[in-house]
């Protein structure tokens, strides 16, 4: 049990918080038809990450997240500026800004000699979920022991903090996020600015993507922005319930995915384990598939059955 608590538990926490923060925001991205924004924004924020890193000299840190948020704001403003001044369509303006920001990030990386730090390809794809350890933990009671909790890996604490901030922000501005996603014209006519809440969403997405990215890699980040939200959408017609369900799906995928990665291969007679981040994404994908097939009312099976019965 100690071993589970010290080596597996912190990794599970990491996966759960990463899945939760991305999964929650994914609801609004999917509804606004900006599902791949999470992917795009994780490139745009590179210069912000590098600058944040120069201040903090750590990969998982609040300065880095601030840098990411700042870079997201700069890129959204640049897109708007180019769109208005250059008379080009939004897609083209985004393409120009995204690639330029990423290029600036690469140059910054080179020039500041931070290139060697943890930003290699393997790391970026799969993350390092498994490397989280909590050696100060001896029993489950340590979960309520502040000094033991403070010895949790920095990654875990940061992602927990990010999750909390994001959940509170979404709860606080739920009705504004809802109305600006559904009917931006009405929102504007009521004095609720769609631009400001669009920007808030993008900044939150950037922060969540960057916080989760360094821990779990880009596969899981992209999967988590889309799968839990899309799964939950099949199951309910209420946005409020959809937010809860998607959070539940994200947490379940985090726990089940890690456990399956760590314990399933040995049980099946294979040596070692598989990538936890990859497995979490697989579980999320399977849940989505199940929902698409079997969800009441929106599932393929249900609709077939209903069609047959009514004909």
């Amino acid at each position: 049990m100690d071993i589970f608590l010290q080596f597996d538990f912190p990794s599970i926490l990491l996966g759960v918080f990463a899945a939760l923060s991305c999964g929650l925001l994914g609801n609004f991205l999917v509804l606004r038809r900006q599902a791949l924004m999470g992917d795009a924004i994780s490139h745009v924020v590179l210069p912000g990450i590098v600058i944040g890193f120069l201040f903090s000299h750590a990969t998982a840190s609040w300065p880095m997240l601030l840098g990411a948020g700042g870079a997201a704001i700069v890129s959204v403003l640049l897109i708007e500026l180019i769109r208005r001044l250059g008379n080009v369509e939004p897609g083209a303006a985004m393409g120009v800004v995204f690639t330029t920001m990423f290029a600036v990030g690469v140059v910054l990386l080179e020039q500041t000699q931070t290139a060697g730090v943890h930003l290699d390809v393997e790391h970026a794809l799969y993350g390092n979920l498994e490397s989280a350890i909590w050696l100060e933990a001896y029993s489950w009671r340590d979960l309520f022991n502040l000094s033991a909790l403070s010895a949790l890996p920095e990654d875990v604490k940061l992602l927990a903090g990010v999750s909390l901030v994001l959940i509170v922000t979404v709860l606080a501005f739920f009705k504004e996020l809802k109305i600006t996603s559904f009917d931006p014209l009405l929102a504007a006519s009521l004095g609720i600015s769609p631009q400001i809440f669009g920007l808030l969403l993008i900044v939150m997405v950037a922060v969540a993507a960057v916080a989760a990215f360094s821990a779990v890699g880009s596969i899981l980040v992209i999967a988590m922005f889309i799968c839990p939200a899309a799964t939950a959408r099949m199951l309910t017609d209420s946005l409020k319930i959809q937010l809860w369900l998607s959070s539940l799906v994200a947490v379940f995928a985090g726990v089940a995915g890690y456990l399956a990665a760590a314990f399933l291969p040995p049980m099946l007679g294979f040596d070692g384990s598989v990538s936890a981040a990859g497995m979490i994404a697989v579980v999320a994908g399977l849940l989505q598939l199940a929902a698409m097939l079997f969800a009441p009312r929106y599932g393929v099976v249900w609709r077939r059955w209903h069609l047959q019965r009514s004909s």
């Binding site: 009705k175 559904f182 014209l185 006519s189 609720i192």
Partner: protein, 275 residues
């Protein structure tokens, strides 16, 4: 309300005229110019909605009717122009305005019920950091009943017919309890029964002293539904009571060659002959 106003008029003569001028001008647009990519859509449009009247904004496709509403409300960028609502800049008077966008401007697959959408009309006055409560849902329910849609309150909006969706939008505007109603094509793609129901509600609004402005497409029904018209084609062509402004000459000016002369005569012939 009325008694305080008359009290003021006794004590401050100067303010009385201000009050009256403001009350007489629920929605006034001055010198509105809008361009998309350097191509002007609206050119120096000025218009004042007649108070307590039902006015149709008519003009050919691409005349800038929807753009006029959006730009006047400040929802899209404009090159110049001011909008005042009851004598004050519109930015300060948003609570007195209810705007109904085109039905096609939103995604009806959105996870929301009819009641959810109507409740959104109240978001402006719920205030920051608050969620809609029982009181707001009850008010939304009343508005739904006013358009005969209370039975559909818990229905997901995508499962409603076009006419029902338009009624939901109307109910949302009613929930806003405004003084000025601006509607963008509320009759687009609705069934005859819904059209009748919407017209009835609009007439009730006017009877209770509200000012209603509707972007309208169907010239055949202008005389039946509206008391005033505003003809627009990039520039303002004419505005006023239907008898005065809805004339073959003005229609010809607004629509150019797009209306056949037989059509024009038909529309003119529908005029009541009092002489």
């Amino acid at each position: 309300m009325t008694s305080t106003a008359s009290l003021h008029s006794v004590t401050h003569n100067g303010r009385r005229t201000d009050h009256e001028a403001a009350a007489a001008n629920p929605f006034t647009v001055q010198g509105l110019t809008v361009a998309y990519h350097q191509k002007p859509v609206l050119w120096n449009v000025s218009f004042s909605a007649p108070v307590g009247c039902l006015t149709a904004i008519i003009g050919p496709n691409g005349a800038g009717k929807s753009t006029f509403l959006k730009a006047a409300l400040g929802l899209i960028p404009k090159l110049s122009g001011e909008t005042s609502v009851f004598g004050a800049p519109i930015k300060k008077q948003l609570a007195r305005i209810a705007y109904v966008p085109q039905r096609s401007s939103v995604d009806w697959d959105f996870p929301a019920t009819a009641l959810d959408v109507v409740t959104m009309g109240l978001y402006g006055r719920i205030g920051w950091l608050r969620w809609p409560g029982k009181r707001h849902r009850a008010a939304a329910m009343q508005s739904l009943a006013a358009v005969g849609m209370q039975a559909f309150a818990q229905r997901q909006i995508g499962q409603l017919s076009g006419g029902q969706q338009q009624r939901i939008f109307l109910a949302r505007a009613l929930a806003q309890d405004a003084d000025v109603y601006l509607m963008d094509e509320p009759f687009a793609g609705v069934d005859a029964a819904t059209e009748k129901a919407i017209v009835d509600v609009l007439h009730q609004l006017v009877v209770s002293g509200k000012t209603v402005l509707v972007v309208h497409h169907d010239l055949e029904t202008v005389r039946d539904y509206f008391s005033h018209v505003f003809l627009l084609n990039g520039q303002p062509i004419a505005s006023g009571a239907v008898e005065d402004a809805f004339t073959p000459q003005n229609l010809q000016k607004a629509y150019g060659g797009r209306l056949a002369s037989t059509q024009l005569q038909g529309l003119a012939a529908a005029a009541p002959h009092k002489a």
